[in-house]
Symmetry: none
DNA sequence: TTCGTATGAATGAACG
DNA sequence: CGTTCATTCATACGAA
């Protein structure tokens, strides 16, 4: 995704250039309303329409965008969840170990679930191939798209709804497209 | 610097062994190619076969699996749509509320419009035409969610569609909620 | 200044 | 497909 998104936060007419406020921060009234919705009303899952509405109302208390409201709810939910999860394994023996609130540096014992292909029918291999000994650096003299004479179209389940009916007819154009991005600078 | 470039991507030689980091992160070349396909080529709906092909090609730029490509396209499509959804919606009353969207000042948003899905189409005047079975005109008073103070602490998921789709209801109650925090004093 | 924490923002992954 | 979850990056701010 574009990663230049979080820079200019659209001042609605009042601009201060020097990187003073790059990042939105809720004004006290905004924060009060948001918290009121979340905690008092238990309003935690606003729909996009409701996000707009909230945002619209909050605009009278300061500059704000839809995505700010969106992220605010997302973050609050996520962090509440996270805290609960970390409280669960507090040693019941004795000493309180209040290590929550840290930025994930504390090694928690959350089991990593590499559930693969659970629902997404692309049924790939699922094998985590370790990186090769040396990293394949992006070389300028990248050879043309290597002939995939192998049967790469073999183990695909094709259960995706995207099945347009054809079975690889557009391979040529895709190949060309991929090749056209060998070393263009657009990152 | 107009880009903060989420570091974490591809430590340049040795990806972490299994266990430390599970989440795939596109390397810059991979990102470049993917974005090129999506934006420049307008390639948004890869078939499973094409996903494999793309993935195979991208493997020379770092570890990657089919599902990563799959998710990448899914997420980009979803978020672009979500953005459009949040930034439209001028109140039907006719307020002079404009410049909702804003992040596009210096953004390299070269999103080439092309065949959307099969759900909504845009008229020449910018109006949105539902292409499904029926219309739904008035979006004024629709008691969507019954939250007025107390019994809301259940598990309200407020999934916008109540059957016929189209959220946008709940204006009344939300407004009330917003108004109720006009001048209360709380933390 | 440096460090730690709180939090906005981004995005990969997954659910229904 | 739209929405939600999980994890991480980035940054503002206060304490040491």
């Amino acid at each position: 995704m574009e990663q230049q998104t979080q820079q200019q936060i659209e001042d609605g007419g009042n601009n201060q250039a020097a990187g003073t406020n790059n990042r939105w921060a809720p004004t006290p009234p905004q924060l009060r309303i948001l918290k009121g919705l979340y905690y008092d009303k238990g309003f935690k899952y606003p729909t996009p329409e409701q996000i707009q509405e909230i945002c619209l109302h909050l605009k009278q208390y300061g500059q704000i965008e839809d995505k700010n409201v969106f992220f605010w709810f997302q973050n609050l939910k996520a962090r509440e969840r996270q805290k609960l999860k970390e409280f669960r394994n507090v040693p019941v023996g004795g000493s309180l170990d209040l290590n929550f609130g840290s930025t994930g540096s504390t090694s928690t014992d959350r089991s990593i679930d590499l559930n693969f292909g659970s629902r997404v029918g692309y049924g790939a291999d699922g094998s985590i191939m370790e990186q090769r000994g040396e990293y394949h650096q992006e070389i300028e003299t990248l050879p043309l798209f290597p002939m995939h004479g192998e049967d790469i179209f073999g183990n695909m389940k094709t259960t995706s709804e995207g099945g347009s009916g054809y079975g690889g007819g557009s391979r040529i154009s895709l190949e060309l497209s991929l090749n056209s991005y060998r070393d263009t600078d657009m990152a």
